[in-house]
Each structure stands twice: as structure tokens, then as C-alpha cells.
């Protein structure tokens, strides 16, 4: 016959009470047949312990840029495979600058700047042409196109949503959209798809502008658990 043992702790002085609720019904709590501790409302739960249908993008980091040449994130590709980065109020310090990204496969020690970025992008401003650009071998992952290039006048800023898919597998993909006021305060939009032409897992992502610093912006990194 197995037994239930309630054991005190010789080093502590607090009183721990097992209390009954105000009820007239008999209940039995069966202890789990494994070691561990009891979860409470303030316990933290690792994403690996969540059921599949309860998993979603979780906020991993939030960075505020102010006069930075670039913003980069170290990626936890052990626990996450897909990432989303939301950039709010992205503001350029220098007019006519493209939003760009580069990837690192060595935890941020260096960034791939060879012809490893393929892209297909379209952009348009409300008073301008539709611009479609593509390449199979860029040295940088350029998100904006010429018609949606960023300005630096007052009120000119972008909201950006980037979804990185399969960073720990071959040929990671990025889908990005930008919306905001660009040069001459035209309303501008971009839809960009970028594929990394490299089979190595990406471990760090860097955002920067083709000219000048990132004057302001909030970068939020979210991860989708494997």
C-alpha cells in the first residue's frame, strides 16, 4: 500500500495549511504519479509545456531605437522557428533611405553581405507610379522599393510588419509590409518577399537604413514556439 507523507522543512518557520473549502461534497484529489511542484497563478510556464493549440507568437524582446545605425536581435532558434518583428514609428534620420535587413549565421559576429538575398517586391505611393523590383542575388535584404523609400521630414514614419519563416531551416523566407508617409509625405506601401539563398540557420537579424541612422522606432520581436 502506498502512503501519503506530509513532511515539514527543518529550516523554515512558516505554517503551511491544507484547508478545506466551504462545501458539503466529498472530494478526492489524486496526486500525480511523478515528481514536481504545484503550479500556482503566478507560476511561469515554459512554452514547451503548453498544448499545441495554446501556442502562439509570444513577445521575446522590445527595443527602442534612438539614433542607432542598426537594430539587431539574437534569435532563440532552439525553441522558436518562426519570428515576427513589428516596428512602430520607424523614423529615418536621412531622407531617401531604404529599410534593409541582413542575417547572421554566427550569432551576430558577422552578417552575410554576399549575393545571398533574393527578393520580389512591389510598392506604390498615392501620387506616383507602381514600382516592382526583383533580384536573385542582392547583398542585402532590401524591404522598401524606390517608390516607397523613406523620407526624414516631420510626420514621415513607417509601420512595418515582418514575418520570418523557417529561420532554423534551409532558405529562410521573409514577408514584409510597410505603410506610412515617405518622401514628400506621400502615403506609401510596400509588400516585399525576401528569401535567404543560404542553407545555414539564421541566428541573428539586423535592420538598418541604406543611408543614415534610425532616428526612432520601437522594434518588438515575437517568436512562435516549435
Amino acid at each position: 500500500m502506498s502512503k501519503v507523507v506530509i513532511q515539514g522543512n527543518a529550516s523554515g518557520t512558516g505554517n503551511f495549511t491544507i484547508a478545506a473549502p466551504n462545501s458539503n461534497t466529498d472530494r478526492t484529489l489524486t496526486l500525480p504519479d511523478e515528481a514536481g511542484t504545484v503550479l500556482t497563478s503566478s507560476s511561469s510556464i515554459a512554452s514547451s509545456q503548453l498544448p499545441t493549440d495554446a501556442k502562439g507568437f509570444v513577445l521575446l524582446n522590445s527595443v527602442t531605437a534612438s539614433g542607432d545605425a542598426d537594430v539587431s536581435f539574437t534569435l532563440d532558434t532552439t525553441n522558436y522557428d518562426d519570428f515576427k518583428i513589428i516596428i512602430s514609428n520607424l523614423t529615418a534620420a536621412t531622407t531617401s533611405s531604404h529599410l534593409q535587413t541582413r542575417y547572421s549565421i554566427d550569432n551576430g559576429s558577422s552578417y552575410v553581405s554576399t549575393s545571398s538575398y533574393a527578393r520580389s517586391s512591389i510598392g506604390r505611393r498615392h501620387a506616383g507610379s507602381t514600382d516592382a523590383e526583383s533580384s536573385n542575388a542582392d547583398s542585402v535584404g532590401q524591404i522598401t522599393v524606390s517608390e516607397s523609400i523613406m523620407g526624414a521630414d516631420a510626420g514621415e514614419s513607417y509601420g512595418v510588419e515582418c514575418t520570418f519563416i523557417g529561420l532554423s531551416s534551409n532558405y529562410a523566407k521573409l514577408i514584409a509590409t510597410t505603410s506610412g508617409k515617405n518622401t514628400a509625405s506621400n502615403m506609401a506601401y510596400t509588400l516585399a518577399a525576401i528569401q535567404f539563398q543560404n542553407t545555414s540557420p539564421i541566428t541573428n537579424i539586423k535592420f538598418f537604413l541604406s543611408a543614415g541612422n534610425i532616428a526612432a522606432g520601437t522594434f518588438r520581436l515575437y517568436g512562435l514556439a516549435k
Partner: protein
């Protein structure tokens, strides 16, 4: 002025080598923008030209197309008359 990386929220100054590389990249980017801007007049014209179809229709009505092309166009017009 020193440039800074923002790595996971931590500011790290550029090395001298990184500064030089960044200067070069910014110069190349500025040249690409200038090249695009130099053709702005062409994009502006394209936006305001009449549609190519309208231009061709005007040429048809001016009677400048070769007979065989004019006959093909007229055949389509006859097939789908204005209601």
C-alpha cells in the same frame, strides 16, 4: 560622429573598419537613389500620358495604319458594335 549598433537593446559603437564600410555602403546607396530620381520625368510622363489603347485608337481613326492591320481592327469593332 560615432555610429552605434543596437544589439538586443544594448548600444555598441562601430569599429573604425565598420565605419569605413558603412560610409562606402551609404555612398553606393545615394548613387542608386540619384540614378532613380534622374528618371522621375519619365515616370511622371507615363502617369499622365493617355492610355496606350486610346493612342492606338486615335492612330486608327487618323487612317495611318497599314490596310491589313486596319482591317483586323475594324473586324473586331464590327463584331462588338457600340450598343
Amino acid at each position: 560622429m560615432t555610429r552605434y549598433h543596437n544589439v538586443d537593446g544594448n548600444k555598441i559603437p562601430f569599429t573604425a573598419e565598420e565605419e569605413s564600410l558603412r560610409d562606402l555602403e551609404e555612398q553606393q546607396a545615394a548613387e542608386a537613389v540619384a540614378l532613380y530620381n534622374a528618371k522621375q520625368y519619365a515616370r511622371d510622363r507615363q502617369n499622365e500620358y493617355p492610355a496606350i489603347g486610346d493612342q492606338l485608337d486615335a492612330l486608327f481613326h487618323a487612317g495611318v495604319f497599314p490596310d491589313d492591320m486596319a482591317a483586323q481592327i475594324q473586324a473586331v469593332k464590327d463584331k462588338y458594335p457600340k450598343s
